[in-house]
Structure formats: C-alpha cells, structure tokens
Symmetry: none
DNA sequence: GATGAATGAGCGTTCATTCAT
DNA sequence: AATGAATGAACGCTCATTCAT
C-alpha cells in the first residue's frame, strides 16, 4: 500500500537525521518514533530491530555509491579512463552532497571498530576496492607506478571524497562552508579534478609526490 | 598519592580504548570499570560523571595538540615560516601516532553535532584557527593568496592531519596500513611536506589549484 | 481496557500502602513494583516517574476532600451554616477513615518542606482556605469574631481533622485505637461536633477561648 | 578535646536541619557532611552509621521532653495536680518552640510505621504514658472519669502539643504563624490552659464532651 | 498496518559504609 | 580526630523488544 511505503521511508529519514546528529548509539528507537510520529513498535515491524535500521542506512548509501563506480568500469571499454574516473567522482560527490546526512553518518560509523558494522560493509568495501583498481589500472598502467603506489592513490582519493563530511561540523562552524550546497560540490569537484590531473596524468608531478 | 593517580590514569586509558572501539554512547560506565578492574563508583569519584570522562579526553588531546602550534608560532620570530609549519606538522603527526586511539576518538566525536562536545571544544577550535592563521599568514603573504584561499589551505591541512585516523579501520582492513606505526608517520609526513612545498612555496602550482 | 486500569490502580494502591509505611523517600520504585507484582518499568509507563506517583496520590486525596467542602458551600443557600459545616466534617471524616493510609501519607508528606510537594498542593490549600472561610463567615458573622479569630478556628478544625492520622501509630500502639474503624469515625465526629457547638454556636464559650 | 565535641554537635545540628526539611530518607550522609563542612567518614566515626544519627536525634528530643514530665510527677506531692500539669505543658511547649526543627522531625518520623524508629522509641512512649497517667489520675480521680475517658484526655493533650509542628508548613504558608516564635508559644499555652480548665477542672463541660 | 501494554536488562548515578593512613 | 580512596548495592529511569489486539 502507498501509505505503508511512506511510513517506512519516514522512519528511515528520521533515523538518518537523528543518527547523524547524535550517533547510532545516542539515538533511541523512541527518539526516531517520536520524530517520525509513529509508534515505536512500527520500527520493529518494518526493520526487525535497531540494527535493521543501521543496515538499511548502509545499504541506502552503498548501493548507489557503488553503482556509480560500476557504471564507469563498464564504460572503460568506450571512454578514456581519466574521463571515467572524473565522471565517477562527479556522480559520487553529487550523490553525497544530496544525501549529506546519510553520507556523514555512514563514513563516521565505519570509523568505529564495531563488529556489527564491519560485517555488513566488508563486502561493499571489497567491491569498492576492486572497482577503483579496475579504473586506476587502466589509467596509470605505466612502469612508474608500483602496486603500492596505486593503493596509495586510492586511499588519497577516498580520503578526499569523505573529508568534507567527516569534518562538516568544523567546516560549518569555523569556516562557514556547507558540503550540502551545490556550490561546494562544484568547487570541491574542481579541486579533486586538479589533483587527478596533477598526480595521475602528469608524470613529473606524480613521480615527485609518490617517490 | 601514587596509587590514586594510577587509578585515575587506568580509568582514562580504558575509557579511551573503549570509546575508540564503540564510540562514547556505545560504552557504559560499567564497561570501563570492568576493563580498568575498578568499581564503577570510582569513575564518578574521579571524573564526576560520564561527561567528565569525555572532557578529560578532549583536554588530554587538545592541550598537547595546541601546544605544538603555539610553540611554532613563538618560533616565527627566529625561524623561516615554512620550517615552523613543517615542525608543527611533524610534532602533531608524531603525537597523534603515539596516541592514535585518543586521536581517532576525538576527531570522530567532534564530527557529531553534540551540544556537549561543542561547548567544550569551541574555544580550542578558535585558538587552533588563530594559531594556524598566524603561521599561514607569514608563509603566504604574497598578493596571490586571498583570505579565502588561506582558509582553504588550513582546511585542507587539517583534513590531511586527521584523515588517517578517521579512516584507520579502512586503512587497516583494506590496505594493511597502521597509522600508529612509526613507519606510517614518517611516510605520511613526507606526503604533507610535499603538499606544503607544492601549494605554498611554489607559486605556479599554487596559482593553478587555488585559482 | 479493563486490564490496564486494573494495573494502574494496583500500582497506586501498592504505592500508597508503602509510602504510608516507610515514607515517600523510603520506598523505591522496585518496592512498589514487587508489591504490585508488576514490572518496575510499568510504573514509568503509567505515571511517568516517581514524582508522578506522588502527584497522583495527592490528587486522589484532594479532589474528593475538596469536593465535600465545595458541596456544602453550595448548600449554604438552602441550609443552616452549622449544619453545612457538620455535614462537610462528617463526609471528610468518613472519607479519611475509608482511605486512612492515603490520608496519613498525604498529611505527613505535606509537613515536609519539599518544594515538589508544595508546588503541587499550594493551589489545593488556597482553595481549601477559601471554602472554609465561606462557611465560617456565614456561621460566625457576629461582631465577636475578628478575622484573625476566624483563621484560628479554621486552623484548629484542620488540626482536629488530621490529628488521628498524624498520630495513628501512637493511637494504635499505646491506646489500641484505630482511625480506620467506623466506631472511631463516629466517636471522633461527636467530639468535633461538640467543639463546633461550644466554640462557634455558643457565644459565651467562644468568647472565653478566643479572647 | 573541645574541637571534637564541636564537630559532633555541628553534625547533629546539620542533620536535624536537613532531616526536618527533606525527611530522614531524603537526606544523604553526604548532604549532612557538606552542610557541616566535614568529611562524610566523620559521621561514621561519631555516630557509627546513619541510624545512629536518627537515634541521637530521638534521644536529644525525648530525654528533656520526658524530664519535664518526671519533674512534675515528683512535684505532685507538694503541688496541686492542675498546676503540675500546666507547668509540664508550659515547659514542653517552650522546649518544643526552642527546638522546633527537632520537634517537627521527631513527631513526623514517629508517624511512620518504620520498625527502626519504633524499636528506639517504644520505651520512651511507654514511660510517657505512665507519667501522663500519674498526673491525670491525681487530677481527675472522681467517679465521673472512666479509664478510657482518661486515655482520651491524654490523647487529646498529646495531639494539641504536637499539632503546631506537624502542621507548621501550613501555619506558615497559609496563616503566617510561626511555632518557633515566643509569641506563638505563649498564645498557644493559653489555649491549652483553657482546655485543661474546661475539660478537667470543670465537671459540667467535661461530662458533656466525654460522655 | 498499526497500537498500547508489558517486560527484562541495562543505563548513569548515588548511596551508606569501610579502611588505611 | 580526621581524611581520601574505594566498594557493593541500590537508586530512578530508559532501553530495545515482544505480543495480543
């Protein structure tokens, strides 16, 4: 029924908002139910239990996130690898900007050593590594890049993608910058674009930085 | 008394370890007491309440952290500004590496919108901004850098300093890298050193990236 | 639902019994739950918190208590004032006798300087004063009674109404008298009836006692 | 040592003040220690435990209280019994007025069904009954008074003695009367004096009230 | 699809008390 | 005589969850 879907989505939205503000353990089922204006038992009905909510959040983030990478890996046959990478980055940045609360929550929660989270996302992270590698291998397949250097490129890129969300409170309070604004997404994409150009497509620079 | 100090420190160490693993709200007073092999009431005795523990953690991180910046700001009179910045970065990286659990916990907890945390650390962050600005102003006082560009430099630098700890689980699981190891600290310092050189001391690059 | 009401009432009855025996602060939520054979969390469910229980007790006492006075104030138009007063006293004594545990608890708890209790009952006490005054004014509106004398009459009457419950343990242990027994209520009503007659309806006696 | 006695007395005074305000169970050892500006462990040193404090309070009240009755029982040989009773009442009222906090606390705590309090004071109450009876027997030894009538006289008298303290908050808030003021003690003594005269020394009145 | 009643476990905290010093 | 450290138990309360309706 239409009503039902709406309830489920309302719950998820309320949960994401609150998880983002207070962290997963700082939010109670009651908090979410109150914000979503539904009965706490309804959450159990739709998501089984609190952990089910967490899983739903992680899925809601990683499915589209990985789809952007998958799409460009498939494009490698027809397009230049640097264009594919830039396209993937652009889509990811835009998606993260449009879902900045979810993004922030997911990247932060992953930084915990929680066994629960790790079990859920480990396959996602493995898939992500594989997809990144596919693109990077096509892009920097010269003898100048050892496998370890390529790994480091991925790490750096990932750090840059997540950074605005893991420091969003700082960006907002101290510098008045908002990752969710279109302006920021555009500007930040240019920074990463420049970094890709400098480190991966211009041999001289790359050599200096990565020894 | 010697015994007392030891107890207080034991509590703090246990707390940092557990907070890092499960997050502040995911850890109970009893968890900490059990790990520290003391009575839960003793935590209230030494830290008043759970929030007192959080404050103690934040102080234990920010006091030394800021002292490294303060030291180099005082050195600006006798040393070249790029050396001062590098020295500060080196000290901070080493301190963070030696206290990687505390570092990870602090940077993660700050990313929450918790009113409590914000009240405690807001003055620290203001001081940090001031100190960074003092150094950056001396370093890039040419007409090429607008105030907004300088702000962005600080943001980027801060992002780089915190990155390994906000993604440490990823680094470890996927890439087998450990921020707490001396090797990593050294290597990572070189990366930042290069970044400082590229963006702040070589005008051509800087111009390109920051428009 | 029938079951629900029953649970709520069971809790209240258990609470009154225990509060009466050990005092409000001497009784724990768990004590009440154990006596009512329900889960401690259920008390929070029905009464929000422990103070909610206290408020429920005070309301359960003062609402009927004041209704007896209100009724007779309305009767002043049709009946003789001394009959109204006696009727009110009779009803109050009977109500107190039937709810002697609650009565004892309420009068005792009021004698504390607790801010919490005072806030709840201050409006009740004001209303009580107003109602007593309405009756007394009709009854002793001769020039022999100054306003201060009338006040003192109310005080004495209130003291007499509460006395058996504030000293019930003494009455029981030392003199084998039980305020909850019908016999005592009847007998005690006669005493107060006589006092009303002596002090308020016979001018000579009244003059002597109240100067 | 002089200092020691002072500390013990300071503790007792603080305890009486707080017990009176919040009740025995509403006051913690820490509260008392804080008010007395001493270490909590000191209370254990002087009074063994919290119950020891309660016992000390009861003793501090009943020893002088009963001494006034004992004194007048001894005087029965030389003085008229009505004078003895009035003298005892006067002394008791003055003592209670001077120690109104202790008085209020003791009479209120006795109204609990607490086993602890009962064990401590039962012998005091028995002694009190014996002493009252000695005086009353001498005073009303005519055939008009059955033993049960005499009991009721004692009950009434006791009720009158305690009333201002069991209702002191009401007297203060609603009528602006303060039992601890000399004025009140004087005035209240007159009321009881009149009552003694009416009920015990004038046969006609007494007969009416007590049947 | 949704709710109110109810539960057992655990929360942060405070308690009275002990004890070495 | 007095204190600070430490403890086990209990406090009021909230938690995620279950279940009949």
């Amino acid at each position: 029924m239409r009503q039902a879907t709406s309830t489920k989505e309302t719950i998820l939205e309320s949960a994401i908002y609150l998880f983002n503000t207070k962290g997963f353990d700082g939010v109670s089922i009651r908090d979410i139910a109150q914000k979503a204006r539904i009965n706490p038992a309804n959450i159990a009905y739709y998501f089984n239990n609190k952990q089910g909510l967490l899983e739903a959040c992680l899925v809601a983030f990683f499915e589209p996130y990985l789809s952007f990478l998958e799409m460009e890996v498939r494009n490698l046959d027809h397009s230049a690898p640097d264009l594919c990478l830039k396209k993937a980055v652009k889509n990811i940045l835009q998606f993260q900007s449009e879902h900045h609360l979810l993004t922030r929550f997911v990247w932060r929660e992953i930084s915990l050593d929680s066994q629960v989270v790790r079990e859920i996302i480990s396959s996602y992270l493995m898939k992500e590594r594989f997809l990144f590698k596919e693109i990077i291998d096509q892009l920097v397949n010269s003898e100048k890049y050892s496998p370890s250097s390529k790994s480091f490129l991925i790490i750096q890129l990932k750090g840059m993608l997540a950074m605005p969300y893991l420091n969003s409170q700082y960006l907002r309070e101290v510098w008045n910058l908002y990752p969710q604004e279109a302006y920021f997404a555009t500007r930040y994409f240019q920074v990463i674009e420049q970094w890709i150009k400098d480190t991966m497509t211009e041999s001289i620079n790359a050599k200096k930085i990565l020894c």
